[in-house]
Symmetry: C2
Subunit: 258 residues, 2 copies
């Protein structure tokens, strides 16, 4: 099967011109077919602050009420997504920005939690992804760029975790492609010592992951990346990496294996 | 040639749930192929106000500086566009939201005016539109929904007039389809007496237009619609209408002819 590159960047790269430019220059050199998924957390928080929209938390979890959803849609699906698309077009990469509502590619379920009302948060699964148009776009040499906005198929937009979107898209595409999932962030991979960029661990399997967690080497923010990456590997995705956004084409980084 | 419906709605409809819902219910009943173009002016002005971004005017013309462009991208390409897409998906219409940067469909020229610096405003022409992907999407039964954001092909997003986008798209699509361009707004058409909704003029040609202008029957806001509609008719578009957003399928409205 043909290889498909699925790359995810977080908001701290997507929102920062100094970091975004070198990343996109690396990204365009990857072989086609490829697709990009981006987050955007910090810019949305900043806009909420500027608009005096309080960030609502329940039991330590962030709640997406209606004003917070509008901000997420504006920042993720609007500002960040279209800026990345224009940048890619400027370096001869035929990008198309998509949310999960577009072409009904990523329908989601509004989260139904027994005690916490998370608000407009969408949970997704690989089964419900409609990969037809992604394949058609890739066949036409287009490069889909996904923001982490989905919909409930009943007119309501929803906010979804970008790591999960990347993983679930990779699983869904695995029936047609040999998928390589790469989470890019600002470190050289999973670090043995978080203050030493040279301490990246080349390979981590499930057992190593459990050991690293016991030793408290794995930071809070890393857990969803590792969990969704292992989930992807268990469900048909061929390769999974955690890498620095500038090192997409180098051997620096952590490979995850089952 | 097959008929293509190109419908444009202004921000006052796109931003107002009470007006948007009946419009979209009408829109979905139109025969395929069809596409939608939307504006969004008032919501962007409101967000600028809430963010204390001053609205800059030079010689009575609005200037799109960087903060104003960011707001336009967030509101037009993000909030309004994705909301319309989700709404359409909710009523079984396979919508895809696009800006002019996506798939490089609408490249623009940053406006170069001898005395006024309009900022990030993009001027467009039918020649530069790449209609290939629009045709492919229409053939796949998808319904493109365009926001009025374009790009300069060099990484920069630009703000473009939505009436112009609708007209220029219609001209570009006229080589493949028999195009019907409809501007929807909140009146029953061009009114003989602006206080009487029943006074809509069924047909206006260039000569009538000149006469109506002399008699000061044509309001400020109507001029760009009429100008771009006549321009469309002169450049291959088959039909052009100005109608009420609720009367898309009725005989009420003004037809423009050369």
């Amino acid at each position: 099967m043909e290889m498909l590159n699925i790359v995810k960047i977080g908001g701290s790269i997507a929102n920062n011109e100094q970091k975004l430019t070198p990343f996109l220059n690396e990204f365009v050199t990857l072989d086609h077919p490829k697709l990009l998924v981006h987050g955007g957390g910090s810019a949305a928080s900043k806009l909420c602050e500027n608009l005096d929209i309080p960030i609502r938390m329940v039991d330590g979890r962030r709640i997406t009420d209606e004003p917070a959803l509008d901000v997420a849609v504006m920042v993720y699906a609007g500002l960040i997504n279209k800026n990345i698309v224009a940048r890619l077009q400027g370096i001869d990469c035929n990008a198309i920005g998509l949310s999960g509502a577009d072409l009904n590619i990523i329908p989601a379920q509004k989260r139904n939690h027994p005690s916490i009302n998370y608000g407009f948060v969408g949970d997704i699964s690989a089964d419900s992804i409609d990969s037809y148009f992604i394949r058609r776009l890739l066949e036409e040499q287009a490069v889909p760029v996904f923001s982490a906005i989905t919909h409930d198929n009943n007119g309501q937009l929803l906010n979804t975790n970008a790591d999960t979107i990347a993983s679930v898209l990779a699983i869904a595409m695995s029936s047609s492609y040999s998928c390589k999932l790469t989470y890019c962030f600002e470190k050289n991979g999973v670090l043995e010592d978080r203050h030493d960029e040279k301490s990246w661990i080349p390979k981590i399997d499930r057992q190593d992951y459990a050991d690293l967690q016991k030793r408290k080497i794995i930071s809070e923010g890393m857990i969803p990346k590792l969990e969704t990456a292992f989930d992807a590997l268990q469900n048909g995705v061929k390769y999974a990496y955690i890498k620095h956004a500038d090192e997409l084409n180098s051997t620096i980084g952590t490979e995850l294996t089952l």
